[in-house]
């Protein structure tokens, strides 16, 4: 029998509507061996404030610094966000602290292009149409490559990623991980975690210690039982047959996946 924690989806919490993750946060990725920093495009016409973006970028750089050699070149895709020379300068300094060099800027705004040229970057100016074509997330698109961060995710920090999130470290109460794919926490999961935020019910949440404030998978929401357990092992949260979020010990979960149902024996 698979041992399951008494972790049942609560009915007093409203189901989730799918979240749109694609344009909301700064995205640092590797495209064909080239580091690319993508700034979010406007969500319903509103741009996230520049200070927030810079803070987000600093946090990302801090926690994934060992994924590049010192003095790597970086390409900035700023989309139709307008960046003045002061903001670009701040960006260059922030990147510089993480030993990254801003080499190329791709933008659809003329002023941003001008500011980038003054700073000595090479510039690709896209027309608005080109940019729009480029940024529309088509349905059925593959997920982004996993986001791997080595950090403590502290209160007030949201990490959103249109793919799988892997955290090497703890997540604290008051933090949120929101992924279109799975969530893996190699540490204690104490904040909120939302896997399959785009609506995929196959997604799972895995943690060495599962002590979440709340778990969400696709459109389901669950909270931990009010009585605290003292013993924790690596656990997996998934959507079970009865359409609720279940939690199983990692070893039991794996065994369960290997055994076809209806064989009539307990593995």
């Amino acid at each position: 029998m698979v041992s399951q924690s008494p972790f049942t989806p609560t009915t007093d919490l409203p189901p989730q509507s799918p979240e749109k993750l694609v344009p909301e946060q700064v995205h640092l990725k590797n495209e064909d061996g080239q580091l690319v920093l993508r700034l979010p495009s406007p969500v319903q016409g509103a741009l996230p404030p520049w200070e927030d973006l810079l803070l987000q970028l600093k946090q990302r750089l801090e926690s994934s610094e060992r994924f590049w050699q010192p003095h790597s070149a970086l390409q900035l895709q700023s989309g139709d966000r307008l960046l003045d020379s002061r903001q670009l300068q701040a960006l260059v300094e922030t990147l510089g602290e993480a030993q990254l060099l801003l080499k190329r800027v791709i933008t659809s705004r003329r002023q941003t292009a001008m500011a980038a040229i003054t700073l000595g970057c090479s510039v690709d100016q896209l027309t608005d149409m080109e940019y729009l074509n480029q940024s529309i997330p088509t349905p059925g698109q593959p997920l982004a490559s996993p986001l791997y961060l080595q950090t403590t995710v502290r209160s007030g920090i949201d990490i959103r990623h249109p793919g799988t999130i892997m955290i090497l470290g703890d997540t604290n109460p008051g933090s949120a991980l929101i992924a279109d794919g799975d969530i893996v926490v190699w540490g204690r999961l104490r904040g909120l975690a939302h896997a399959g935020a785009g609506g995929n019910r196959q997604c799972r949440i895995m943690a060495l210690q599962m002590q979440p404030t709340q778990l969400r998978i696709a459109d389901l929401v669950a909270r931990p039982p009010d009585s605290a357990t003292t013993q924790y092992g690596p656990e997996v949260a998934y959507i079970g047959d009865n359409q609720g979020i279940r939690i199983a010990l990692a070893e039991d979960f794996m065994r369960q996946q290997l055994t076809p149902r209806g064989l009539g024996f307990d593995p």
């Binding site: 502290r154 209160s155 007030g156 604290n172």
Partner: protein
């Protein structure tokens, strides 16, 4: 090298100002040249705890306006000549000052002092941004309460993303008896969540209130209280000494509490 340390917490009422006053005094007693700066514009308190309120002539605002030099605005402590305080203006709100101005203010003091302690206001808005702008180290003050620890966690996150590189933790107002009864978070519980190097633990002490009302920091007492000793230890650790944590449990662990624990199983 001047060490510029901001004392911050996020939540209000955890004892930032008390810790700043005592730590500043304790460092000054060890022949360090110390300036404590009140960055709580509009709600200043540090002058009260140090008993220097009636000696303020100029505030930081006067310095920024160019009405006087930084040196002139400093209020020197009569009891301890190596300690000076720069008062905040009571008339202006925190939005009236910019991080650049705070940096400018502190730059004027660099070099001549060993320590500059900045007493940060509660919250994470403009006042916080102003206070951390000139700092290169931070001491996060928290009490062993869930709400204070949560806010401290947020603040540590913000500090990590700022230019402040070294953050240390000071746990204030710990009640060892309650920890033993498992009614209060222990030092380990707090460290477990915050994952920040520990600088010290200050026990809860009613004498802190008396000292605040009198305007005489605890560390000035002739017969030091436990909290006073703890502040002294923190100062020594800041200076690089290795001082073991005080054993706070010893005096409280009398026959009765042992018996009570035994009976509760």
């Amino acid at each position: 090298m001047t060490r510029i340390i901001v004392m911050t917490s996020g939540k209000g009422g955890v004892g930032k100002t008390t810790c700043t006053a005592n730590l500043g005094m304790a460092l000054a007693q060890r022949n360090q040249k110390v300036v404590v700066i009140d960055a709580d514009f509009g709600l200043r308190n540090l002058d009260l705890l140090l008993g220097l309120e009636n000696r303020i002539v100029y505030t930081a605002l006067d310095v920024l306006a160019g009405d006087c030099s930084v040196e002139k605005a400093l209020v020197r402590d009569k009891r301890q000549s190596t300690l000076a305080m720069l008062a905040a203006a009571q008339s202006r709100t925190k939005e009236g000052i910019t991080p650049e101005q705070m940096r400018e203010l502190v730059t004027g003091l660099k070099g001549q002092y060993d320590f500059i302690l900045i007493d940060c206001p509660a919250g994470i808005e403009m006042g916080f941004q102003n206070a951390i702008a000139p700092a290169n180290e931070a001491i996060v003050v928290t009490t062993p309460e869930v709400s204070a620890v949560r806010d401290a966690d947020r603040v540590v996150g913000l500090l990590e993303a700022s230019d402040v590189r070294h953050t240390k933790l000071l746990i204030n107002r710990l009640k060892p008896a309650m920890v033993q009864e498992e009614q209060m978070m222990s030092v380990r519980d707090v460290l477990d969540i915050l994952a920040v190097p520990l600088l010290g633990v200050i026990p809860d002490d009613e004498r802190v209130i008396i000292a605040s009302n009198r305007g005489e920091p605890l560390v000035l007492d002739n017969k030091l209280s436990l909290a006073g000793v703890a502040f002294n230890n923190v100062a020594r650790r800041l200076l690089g000494e290795e001082v073991p944590l005080l054993d706070l449990t010893a005096p409280q662990d009398d026959l009765f509490s042992r018996l009570r624990r035994f009976l509760r199983g």
